[in-house]
Subunit: 329 residues, 4 copies
């Protein structure tokens, strides 16, 4: 049984990570660390775990591993502290919004030889994973073009957007990782086009809310990403992968399988509302994977380098958006 | 926390009930009772629970409730013993295959004033429940005709069929309960037509493997059930409810949401394989309900009378099959 | 080029048959015969064809064939007259509502050795035909159970129902023919259950508006028909054919292929409104077939005997409904 | 009745235009003009029309209008001749592959005040037209992003590609027009990325066979086009239009509505094979429109300017591809 110290008692900490740690037969929610006492208390009361300070947790010999789900700007420091304390690390993406800071942080991890897993949850989604697996099995031959659709149900608050690092680093970063995951090669060029048309608040803080990104790969294959901060109909998460013999499509999961046909037409349920619903199975699968890492049965499927590479693509997309040029990578 | 004694360590006991008892925050798998020591040991080892005899479990004051998932022919006796021991009862359908025995058993339960819940799991399926709920909300007006499709992926062994009570009592019984659940009224007539065309083994033991049943209700509404012991493409579990304003359909759940389009056509995944997959959410929901019963927050949504009524319809369907007549109820 | 005399300038004559005759490269709409001068004039003006009386048409040596799409109670007499005049006959179903009258009429046709084609249009629907063809190709092995859904968008006027011969002879007759067409064998038993719940007018004239029919075939296969005079969502025309290896389903054709996803859910178009839309391709295909008959390249795919057999099943369904018994055939 | 001179007896002339002219109640296929006598004879024999030279047709006072479906490099000259002869013109896209030549040609048409309709058939597709209409009706609010998918079933011969003007001018030109049609505004920037990965022959002649194009519009809305010369599964023609309230999607039309479910999974028919099948209704609708133009009831919905604008976008896409820059328009 591994004792886990959970950093961050916010929504994803409460609804996803605390639950998955507690329900896994080999992990125990040992402690919760959060500057907001209310949130920490909520989890401590529910799961009967300790409340610790950062220092206590890092120094506690009973802590077998850490799960970092705190605010983005704390990730790099917590990773370094945990690495120095010799504790295996599960960290929500991103490591940091600044590339230089990421490199510095990864150097520390490297030096300490501690396993670091970056939580790109979508790689563990059974639908997307299947697309990748079936490509490997040759069902569509060589990959030729990939279309990734990722649209949030509704815009986040402007305050969140302000500190998010912008659309590409906050939202598209998942799609950059997905493109790398599916294509199995690194892009050689990137182009981005964006707009602020869905939310006044986002526009006011100088970010875009809608984007198209195009990437080209060494094999000649191409990928496009279509993003919006507001779909209006739930969480739109689809992949379309065209190859020599045809296309593999991962469609949305819908809220239920009931249809109503009336004079008005035929109606069925919207896509699952948001990431907590849609990626429930993915979050469990990635935690199972991390436990395998703790057991020495696997090495992290997505490392700090994956986090860095996705961030690099986000930075280059931003450069393209600002210069109106296709950027060579 | 309620201590549960689980009777029956067979497949459904292992894969469904032991898991759900263990995972519910308010229930504890206290003991397992099964004449086959191997099965009992398997569960005892996995969950760290006691192995008890029937008598021990019934007399053990620590046992707060019993879950009966043993062989069908033991249900009635175990129900009576538990009722006399004052323990609330969750019992898999059916109470017994013989109607007179059912009545006798329910009389004992009645006398002891013990809660008895009969596990008609499909009522708790989110899809079917939604059809019922949306009918109540008036989405299609008054119900007019109901089509229930229930087809198993592949035939059970002939030995099972031999002691199963026959297709109507073993398989269609779920559909009879579903028809009562959806329509909210008791049928006034029933007709059944059956055939032995999918499996030689079933034919050899004198049972049918394919059937159509038609029922009429006091309101004039009608229902039809279509059954087969072998679909060839997974577990086919659908409902189509026509009303004044249109139709509500609960479609199958499929194994995944990935499509492949090639020269050969467009292909997607089969329906979920069988009841363990398809009704996973339903089994959890019915256990949640039973815990509410234990907490005194609910009375059993399906009682012994529901079990009896479904069995009665099965008996009458058989009578119709044998006489070639529509039976008045 | 074959000159066709068209009997009946009502809706189906105008919208379907006149058009198909006129558009076929080998047929010419030569004359229209209808007691209602207005309707006849409409067609004559549009296509520049003659208006004739029944006698004129039958005696006119220029008329190469007749198409009977007049009121049901005129069919038998017109068939006999055409047969005696030696003119090949295309007649809308049914020959007559009275079985004895049908036999008498077919005897006349038989004696005259004139080709008689009965218009069971649905056999020519590309979807249903494909189900039949793919069954023959062995895609699902031997047929085991057939489910036919046939629901009209909205009830016909009570005056029509009064002279229609009742639901089974007017509407279900198509489904009886479809069952025979798909299964390729004659049923050995039939059961029918019906209700008057969708339309007061239909109830008032003593007919049913909703029905389930079950038939059994010599092979042990079974079929069920589900009918309603009012679906509320367009014309519901589906077939589900289960066999040894799986199921072939002909789904509805919808009005278009546009979907709208919003906060309210996902919405797509209703099934095609009614038979003129849904069976447009079928009507053209059956006319092409009849022209092949005229050319001596084919014999009628559905003869008077098919019409008689479907009527026989309708009569027996009615007998079952009235006696509450499964009828042996 | 309008007498039409048809220029071009190739595939589209034979299968689409000759048929539509002949079947329209107000148009008559008067003459066919084609340098290949065999093709011209085929049409003349089938429809009983004259064979004319270009000069004869242009000077024939009986010719009421011309339909130009000949080789692309003859379009501009034929348009000019017809304009000077005062004959209304229906011309397949494009006017010419060279922009300067297009301008010269349109100036002649302008001077002669003759109606010129450019056949962008997809605007008349009932699915795409409905997306446009429902956007106008406000079903999704303001348009935000448009995704156009256009993939041919299999690559054309390299000889065709060589004289086609390249992917953007030959194939994407339809999508440029579609984007303008749906969005109702002219793009302000364009970016294109392409690859030669599906066909060696296309690569050999220096063209691309796969492309992504991104355009931005004055409103801030964006559009992307995804093209391939080979889908492997039929003609893939879809549109996805996201707006403030949700998304309108025009899905593919499939060959039929029959599904097969077996042990292997669930299977349905491929998209319609190619443009002759998919756009059959569109070709008829555009001809109906042109007849309205001839009747003075409409002005051409797509004029020479539309043809020129689509060609302009194709040229700019090529410039972007060659320079790796987003081009400002």
């Amino acid at each position: 049984m591994f004792n886990i110290a959970l950093f961050g008692a916010g929504r994803i900490g409460q609804v996803v990570h605390a639950v998955n740690i507690a329900e896994h037969p080999q992990t125990n929610l040992y402690s919760i660390i959060d500057p907001f006492a209310d949130n920490a208390n909520k989890i401590a009361n529910k799961y009967g775990c300790k409340i610790q300070s950062v220092e206590e947790a890092m120094q506690d010999a009973n802590v077998d591993a850490v799960l970092i789900a705190s605010a983005t700007d704390t990730h790099a420091e917590l990773i370094e502290l945990a690495a120095k304390a010799g504790k295996p690390i599960f960290c929500e993406k991103p490591v940091h919004l600044d590339m230089a800071r990421v490199e510095q942080c990864l150097a520390v991890v490297e030096a300490q030889q501690v396993p670091l897993f970056i939580g790109f949850n979508r790689r563990w989604d059974p639908q997307f994973k299947q697309v990748s697996d079936r490509l490997s099995l040759g069902e569509i031959g060589k990959a030729e073009s990939l279309l990734i659709t990722s649209r949030d149900p509704s815009p986040p608050p402007a305050e969140y957007v302000k500190v998010s690092g912008g659309l590409f680093r906050d939202m598209t970063i998942h799609d950059f990782d997905m493109a790398r995951f599916i294509m199995g090669e690194e892009p050689v060029s990137i182009y981005a086009c964006g707009s602020s048309i869905v939310d006044e608040g986002i526009k006011a803080v100088g970010d875009i809310d809608t984007a198209f990104v195009v990437m080209k790969f060494p094999s000649g294959a191409m990928a496009t990403i279509s993003n919006s901060r507001r779909s209006g109909y739930g969480y739109d998460q689809r992949i379309e992968l065209h190859g020599e013999k045809g296309v593999l499509t991962a469609k949305n999961l819908h809220e239920d399988a009931v249809e109503l046909w009336t004079e008005e037409g035929c109606k069925y349920a919207k896509p699952e509302f948001f990431f907590l619903e849609r990626y429930k199975a993915a979050y469990i699968a990635e935690w199972n994977h991390f436990v395998e890492v703790l057991n020495g049965q696997a090495i992290p499927a997505t490392s700090g380098l994956d986090g860095m590479q996705a961030l690099y693509l986000a930075d280059k997309a931003l450069e393209s958006l600002q210069t109106g040029k296709e950027i060579q990578l």
